[in-house]
Amino acid sequence: MIALSIFDLALAAILVIGLAALSWHLRIGLEQRLLVSAARTTVQLLLIGLVLKVLFDNAHWLWVSAMAAIMVTVAGREVMARQKRRFAGWWGFGLGTLSMFLSSFTVTVLALVVVIGNTPWYAPQYAIPLLGMILGNTMNGIALGLDRLTQDVAQHRPALEARLALGQAWREVIADSRREAIRVGMIPIINAMAAAGIVSLPGMMTGQILAGVPPVEAVKYQILVMFMIAAGTGFGTVAAITFGSRRLFDERHRLRLDRLIQPKDD
């Protein structure tokens, strides 16, 4: 594989700077955010490159699990930050984080132990990238699904309470919103699988091919990753929406919107 020099990267950076200049010229107002996020990409990726180098040199399970713990915590914060009406208190963070932990970790460990069968199974070259890809997609699914669930419930509160007042149980009342939220969380990965190879060449596969891996080998890995992502996203979204639906009602089948933090703009 051809190694990139600083000069090569600087050349690519000129393109981004050119885009920023265009944004400034057209008064789009995105130049500052564009440059800041480009700088963040550079710093964050260089840092993670260093971290991974250290991690690969010290393939101890403690370091690998510490890294995994940091990744799931950051993903949990991200899920929370993307909610318009998130759950109050620890639930806001815990709901998404726990669901991601349950699904992403299980799926990743399954892939590492049963499918790939490397020794040791937690070898960071495999564990960290796999977990990263599954976690990133599961995070999206859970964030979308939870946001849809809480918005839906807040919007349809009168109808939901009318059904409760008629003596329907909370499970019956929430069923439609719940189904819709899970659908919304799972659609992106279903679409990604449907379009893979025809519309889009997935990043991991492209990267492997660039690194000189035979295309068919890269494709097999990509298929494995796609399935793992689908499973992680699906089970994670179902878990998060299920916990979330339960939390929206108390033991007396009351709709408890006071357990959500109201958005500031209304």
Binding site: L160, E161, A165, G167, H253
Partner: protein
């Protein structure tokens, strides 16, 4: 005999309230906006957290599952809400369409789409009534009053009726109360 009884009943800024509505009795409730009439009815239907206890026919609310309580102590909110496309979906499967005639509706109404119904046609029958005739014309108001009166006497149902219309209160109420500063005051 089904009797609705509240003891040390408290929700938000309303209460503590002591109230007994006898079987077949209609108690009317009046009060300024924001006095908590809606909150009180919601709490009796156990839709809001509350302190104290409510009994129907000697059975305590906290001793039965909430959906069972709400099927017995039914709240009819001022605004009715539809959740499905067709009117009929909202009714139990064994509902007799002919009963709609009592409200001057045709049995076909069950197959209407919800958007076809004016708000006047959206009211239904129950025990905790929040201005049940609020948006109705005088003729339909009379029909609803007849229907509720018939239901009450036939089932000996206790009825708690929130209304702003003093002439309606005189027509339907056995007793009347005003909700003021979180407390009930009996009116003659």
């Amino acid at each position: 005999m089904p009797e609705l009884r509240l003891h040390a009943f408290q929700t938000h800024h309303v209460g503590p309230i002591e109230l007994a509505v006898a079987a077949g009795e209609c108690v009317c409730l009046r009060g300024a906006s924001g006095s908590g009439k809606t909150l009180l009815l919601r709490a009796i239907a156990d839709l809001d957290p509350h302190q104290g206890e409510a009994w129907l026919d000697g059975a305590a609310c906290s001793q039965m599952p909430a959906p069972v309580w709400r099927r017995k102590v039914m709240l009819v909110a001022a605004e009715s809400h539809w959740w499905a496309e067709r009117v009929g979906t909202h009714f139990p499967s064994d509902y007799d369409p002919d009963r709609l005639r009592e409200l001057d509706l045709t049995p076909d109404a069950l197959h209407w789409e919800v958007t076809r119904c004016s708000t006047g046609e959206r009211q239904r029958l129950a025990l905790l009534l929040e201005e049940p005739t609020g948006n109705l014309d005088p003729d339909t108001t009379a029909a609803v009053e007849r229907l509720l009166d018939d239901y009450r006497t036939r089932n000996e149902a206790p009825m708690l009726w929130v209304s702003h219309d003093t002439s309606q209160i005189q027509r339907v109420a056995d007793r009347g109360f005003v909700l003021e500063d979180g407390a009930l005051r009996e009116t003659s």
